[in-house]
C-alpha cells in the first residue's frame, strides 16, 4: 500500500516537514525499544564478557556454565522440553488446522472456539487447574478411584508437567498460525490434484505440506522462542531439579543474588534461539505487505 501524501501543496517543503513530524511522533516508542530491548541485550553480552575484577575480557562465566553439571542438566532439560512440546504441538495442531480448513459441518465452529479458548485463560489459572486435575488427589485420581482403578503417577512436579502445561497454553496460537497458512492453499490446487487421481493422503503429502513449509517453520520458531525461556508454567508445574532455564535464571537472579550467572544463562538462551529468532523476523518481514 502506498503512503498517501497530505494536502497537495508545494511538494518539497511538505515532504521535509512530514519527515520531521513523523520522526518526532515515533521518537518515544523507538527510544523505549532501544533502551529496554537493544541496550540490555548488548549490555548482557558485554558484562558477561568483560569483567573488570577478573582482568578484562574473559569467558569465565561461560566456561563455568558449560562445565557445571547442574547448569548443563538444566540446559538439557530445556532443550528436551522444547523439542517434545514442539513435536506434540505440531502433531496435535496440524490435524486440527486441517480439519478446520476442510470441514463443512457445523462442528467446525465449535472445534475452532475450543482451540482458541486457552488464549483467554491466563497461564496462572491454567497451572492451578492443572494441579487440581492431574495433581495428587486431583480430579483424575478421584475419577480413577471411583471406578476402582489404581492411581496413576501424577506428572505434577515432573518434566512432563511442564510439557503438558506448555502444550495446552500454546495450542491457540499454533492453530491460528497453521490455519492462516492453510488459507494460502487454494481450493483449486487441491481440486486439481484430486482431478488427476490423488487420494487424500497423497494430497496432504504432495500438495498441502510443501505449501505449508514456511508456515510450519514460523509456527516452530514461535513455539521455540516461547518455550525456551518460559517461566510460569515450568516454575509451578515442573521439577525443582533439574529445572528449565526460566526458573533457573530467576533463581540465580533473585534467590542466589547472582545476577552475573543469570545474565550468562540469558545469553546462552539467546544463542540457542538465535536462528529461530532471525528466521521469525525475516518471515514476518517477508509476509507483510510493505507498510
Amino acid at each position: 500500500m502506498t503512503v498517501a501524501a497530505a494536502a497537495p501543496v508545494a511538494p518539497a517543503a511538505k515532504e521535509k516537514s512530514q519527515g520531521a513530524i513523523g520522526l518526532l511522533l515515533v521518537m518515544l516508542p523507538v527510544l523505549l525499544v532501544i533502551w529496554l530491548v537493544i541496550w540490555p541485550i548488548i549490555s548482557a553480552i558485554v558484562t558477561t564478557l568483560w569483567i573488570p575484577d577478573a582482568g578484562g575480557f574473559t569467558t569465565k562465566t561461560y566456561q563455568f556454565f558449560f562445565s557445571d553439571p547442574y547448569s548443563l542438566n538444566n540446559l538439557g532439560l530445556t532443550l528436551w522440553t522444547t523439542a517434545v512440546v514442539a513435536a506434540i504441538l505440531l502433531l496435535l495442531c496440524l490435524p486440527i488446522a486441517l480439519y478446520l480448513r476442510f470441514t463443512e459441518g457445523g462442528l467446525g465452529g465449535y472445534v475452532q472456539g475450543l482451540a482458541i479458548f486457552p488464549m483467554f485463560v491466563p497461564s496462572i489459572i491454567l497451572s492451578y487447574a492443572f494441579i487440581r486435575v492431574l495433581g495428587p488427589n486431583g480430579m483424575v485420581d478421584i475419577l480413577l478411584n471411583a471406578v476402582h482403578l489404581p492411581k496413576i503417577r501424577t506428572p505434577y512436579l515432573t518434566p512432563w508437567g511442564s510439557v503438558i502445561g506448555l502444550v495446552w497454553d500454546n495450542i491457540p496460537l499454533t492453530v491460528l498460525i497453521l490455519a492462516s497458512g492453510l488459507g494460502n492453499v487454494s481450493n483449486a490446487a487441491v481440486e486439481a490434484a484430486r482431478d488427476v487421481g490423488a487420494n487424500r493422503l497423497q494430497v496432504l503429502w504432495s500438495i498441502i505440506l510443501p505449501k505449508l513449509t514456511n508456515t510450519l517453520l514460523v509456527a516452530l520458531s514461535f513455539t521455540v522462542l516461547n518455550i525456551f525461556s518460559s517461566f510460569t508454567l515450568p516454575y509451578v508445574l515442573g521439577p525443582a531439579a533439574p529445572e528449565m532455564m526460566g526458573p533457573f535464571m530467576q533463581r540465580s537472579f533473585r534467590e542466589l543474588n547472582d545476577p552475573l550467572s543469570a545474565v550468562t544463562q540469558a545469553v546462552v538462551a539467546f544463542a540457542f534461539c538465535l536462528v529461530f529468532g532471525l528466521f521469525y523476523v525475516a518471515s514476518v518481514a517477508r509476509n507483510r505487505p510493505k507498510p
Binding site: 494536502a7 497537495p8 501543496v9 511538494p11
Partner: protein
C-alpha cells in the same frame, strides 16, 4: 453558472508523464465525458480538477478563477468516486448532512435539504438506513446526492457505474443524465466505456497516453474521427493500409477516389458502411464467418492477402460462410501520419470499383 477551463495542464510522476499539456474548455451546464483506455490520464485529469492532485504545470480555472493550487475542501467541486466511498459509520442522512454541518447550517435547513436531494435521486425516506443496507445502485445514488446537496459548481464523476451490472448501469446513467439536465450543473464524467460516453455526453474528449486525441460531440466523434486511434476506439472500424496514386486509394482490394497527394495512407470504413454483393470471381474476398445478432448480420471477411474485415448486413440478406463477395465502401475516412487526410461519402449509384490487384 460555472465554466471550467484547463490550460496546458501537465502532470508528471517522476519520469512518467501521466497528463501531457491538456487543454479543455467546458461550458456552463455541459456534460463532458473523458473517454479513454486505462492509463490514458483521464482519472488524473479529473483528480486535478477536484484538487486531489496538483498539476506539474498549467492551470485549472473555474469561472475564470485560478484554483490550481487550492486544496480540495475549498474548491467548488463535488466528486462521486468509483467505489462510492460512503462513510460506513454514518447513516445515509449522516453522509449527506456532513458537508452541510461543516458549513454550519441550522438543523432544520439541513434536514430539509437532505430530504429534497434524496427525493431528487429517487431515495426519498431512506435517510435512516446504513450504507451497507443498500444495494450497489442505491449506494451510488447516495454518493451522488452527497455531492449535489452542496450545490457545487462542477460535478465530477469517476467511472461511477464501473462496479454495477449492465442493466443497472444503463438505467442509472439515464437517471444521472436527467438529474444533470434538470439541475443544469456543469459535469465531467470519466469512463472507459464508449457506449456510456456516446449515450450521455454533450461532448466526448477521447484521451490516449495523457493527450487529447479529439474533443467533439458524439456524432462528430463517431462519424468524423480525427485519428486512427479514435476511429478504432469508438465503435468498430475497419482499418486497411493502402496506397494513394493518381487521386485514388487502393487498399484491401477496394478502390475509391482520394483527392490527396500520392503516398501510403490508411483507409477506414465502418462495418455498417461496407456494402456487400455476391460475386463468382474466384480470387475475391470470402466470407469467413457470419454471426447473426438478431438485428443485423456481422460478416467476417477474409481478404486474399489474409487481412480480415467486418461488414454489417441486414438480417435477411442471406450471406453465408464461404460466399465470395465484392466490397463497396459507402462512407470512408483516409488517415495519413496519424491524422485524418480526407473524409467522404460515396454516392450510392457509383459503380463498384473493379477488383484491383492486391498489393502484398
Amino acid at each position: 453558472m460555472a465554466t471550467l477551463e484547463l490550460s496546458d495542464v501537465t502532470k508528471q510522476f517522476g519520469s512518467t508523464v501521466a497528463v501531457d499539456k491538456v487543454s479543455l474548455s467546458v461550458g456552463d451546464g455541459e456534460l463532458v465525458c473523458l473517454l479513454g483506455p486505462s492509463g490514458s490520464g483521464k482519472s488524473t485529469v479529473l483528480r486535478m480538477i477536484g484538487g486531489f492532485a496538483t498539476p506539474t504545470s498549467g492551470a485549472v480555472l473555474i469561472d475564470g478563477e485560478d484554483v490550481t493550487k487550492v486544496s480540495p475542501e475549498k474548491r467548488p467541486t463535488g466528486m462521486v468516486f468509483q467505489s462510492h466511498a460512503l462513510w460506513s459509520h454514518m447513516s445515509v442522512f449522516g453522509n449527506i448532512a456532513f458537508g452541510l454541518k461543516l458549513r454550519r447550517l441550522p438543523k432544520a435547513e439541513i434536514a430539509q435539504k437532505v430530504e429534497a436531494v434524496l427525493e431528487l435521486v429517487g431515495l426519498g425516506g431512506l435517510g435512516k438506513r446504513q450504507p451497507n443496507q443498500l444495494s450497489g445502485g442505491q449506494q451510488q445514488r447516495v454518493a451522488l446526492a452527497r455531492s449535489l446537496v452542496l450545490e457545487p459548481k462542477i460535478l465530477l464523476l469517476d467511472e461511477p457505474f464501473a462496479s454495477l451490472d449492465q442493466h443497472l448501469r444503463e438505467r442509472l446513467r439515464e437517471e444521472v443524465r436527467d438529474i444533470q439536465q434538470r439541475v443544469g450543473i456543469t459535469t465531467l464524467f470519466v469512463t472507459h466505456g464508449q457506449d456510456e460516453a456516446l449515450a450521455l455526453a454533450d461532448r466526448i474528449v477521447v484521451m490516449r497516453d495523457g493527450r487529447v486525441e479529439q474533443a467533439d460531440p458524439p456524432d462528430v466523434v463517431y462519424r468524423q474521427p480525427r485519428t486512427p486511434f479514435v476511429a478504432g476506439f469508438i465503435g468498430t472500424m475497419n482499418l486497411v493500409d493502402g496506397e494513394v496514386r493518381g487521386g485514388r486509394i487502393t487498399a484491401g482490394g477496394m478502390s475509391v477516389p482520394a483527392p490527396i497527394a500520392d503516398g501510403p495512407a490508411t483507409l477506414a470504413v465502418r462495418p455498417e458502411f461496407l456494402q456487400l454483393t455476391r460475386t463468382d470471381a474466384a480470387d475475391a474476398p470470402v466470407a469467413h464467418r457470419v454471426i447473426d445478432y438478431g438485428t443485423h448480420l456481422m460478416v467476417d471477411i477474409a481478404l486474399p492477402n489474409g487481412e480480415r474485415l467486418k461488414a454489417m448486413a441486414a438480417p435477411n440478406d442471406g450471406f453465408k460462410a464461404g460466399m465470395r463477395l465484392t466490397l463497396t465502401p459507402r462512407e470512408i475516412a483516409i488517415y495519413r501520419d496519424g491524422v485524418v487526410a480526407h473524409q467522404a461519402a460515396i454516392a450510392a449509384d457509383a459503380a463498384p470499383a473493379p477488383v484491383a490487384a492486391v498489393h502484398g
